[in-house]
Symmetry: C2
DNA sequence: CCTACCGATCGGTAGG
DNA sequence: CCTACCGATCGGTAGG
């Protein structure tokens, strides 16, 4: 935001009508974010270069910095951009809360199996986020806190247990962990892991275990 | 190995007796590997520098390269070194196979809660390993294949199911995923996650679910 | 194991 | 959004 600067019109476009510069700029930002997701997924954040990202959208790395100010801010924008996309999708499915959320997580695991690029970027960035002073640390910490809350509530709903029961919280931790932990296994050997079936089994087993007691 | 070179004795040590150079060198290698685990954990492999590692053991980065040939070979040596340490510990506990392995995994989760440095290094390196052409890729792929096999066998043992049952395999995938997926959650908020209790609950729930059917 | 050095790359800035 | 540039850092090598 504070890094946003103004800049003159492109060399040959002259001073004609503005062609909705905001809209074009928004589209451009989205293109850069998509390229960043690919590059960070393929090489990691630390090892992914602004040059590579810029090349994929046909500009120089200084152009990318014009749009995002710094590499760190590009990362943060990317994480929020991905989160928005997930939330939009969640709302498309009517943003399930309570017990139906658990079924939605199984669908998510299945959909992830069709988006290796997104899974790769998520896995790499999550891993890097636990390094000291990493710019993505806060994002993931808050994401986990929010997910655990929502899923604890869903498990409580499905098992008629209180939300502050330690076992209910543990089940929520386990569900998040299973989904995240399956991703590197799957990326490293896609034939060895059925993400949907495994998440489905784990959720069913946990709900049964907490209900039966 | 092919990068190993000979080099003259240190400036002031003269040509006296050799002082068990192999032993001293082995100790030095171990010191470097411990430093590398810290540095790669704190900054990631891509972003961790040989300079930092060398500094922590009181030498220059050229000295580190003398011992390991290249940064990639240092990483591979580190992964094998860690694996050896785990295996040694496993054997210390009598290398459980079959159902008792599942109890051992719960103990491992608890012990991990006392070794944040190792957990951080593992989480970071695993995340980076799914990037394209990463030197640690093979190590983790084979590690997962081996773990899944052992745990599938243990689950089959505990539930009287065949090893080639898809649900048995899924349970093994889920147990590995839960242990790995809990680590970033725990590193980002240690008070929010009880690794031992969560692994214990997940294993119990999965075994029950597969037994009950 | 060190000194000295190299080529390469990188993020960021100036200035238009 | 580009050109041109900067300082910094990095892995690796030569040569002892």
């Amino acid at each position: 935001m504070s890094a946003q600067q103004s800049w003159p019109a492109p060399p040959s476009s002259g001073a004609g009508k503005a062609q909705r510069p905001q809209k074009r700029s928004g589209r451009r930002r989205a293109e850069i974010l998509e390229a960043a997701m690919s590059v960070f997924g393929e090489h990691g954040y630390a090892n992914g270069s602004l040059h590579d990202i810029a090349e994929r959208v046909g500009m120089t790395h200084a152009g990318v910095l014009h749009h995002f100010g710094s590499k760190e801010q590009l990362l943060i924008a990317l994480l929020e951009y991905r989160d928005d996309a997930d939330v939009a999708e969640l709302e498309g499915h009517h943003a399930p809360r309570g017990a139906p959320l658990l079924e939605h997580l199984v669908d998510t695991a299945e959909e992830n199996g069709k988006r290796p690029g997104i899974v790769q970027a998520y896995t790499v960035l999550l891993g890097e986020s636990v390094t000291d002073n990493h710019p993505g640390r806060n994002f993931f910490a808050e994401r986990f806190a929010g997910l655990r809350d929502m899923i604890t509530s869903a498990v409580a709903d499905a098992t008629n247990r209180p939300m502050d029961d330690p076992q209910t919280v543990s089940a929520a931790c386990a569900i998040v962990a299973t989904m995240d932990g399956l991703q590197p296994q799957w990326l490293l050997d896609r034939d060895a892991v059925d993400m949907r079936a495994t998440v489905e089994l784990t959720i069913r087993a946990l709900v049964q275990e907490l209900t039966r007691q």
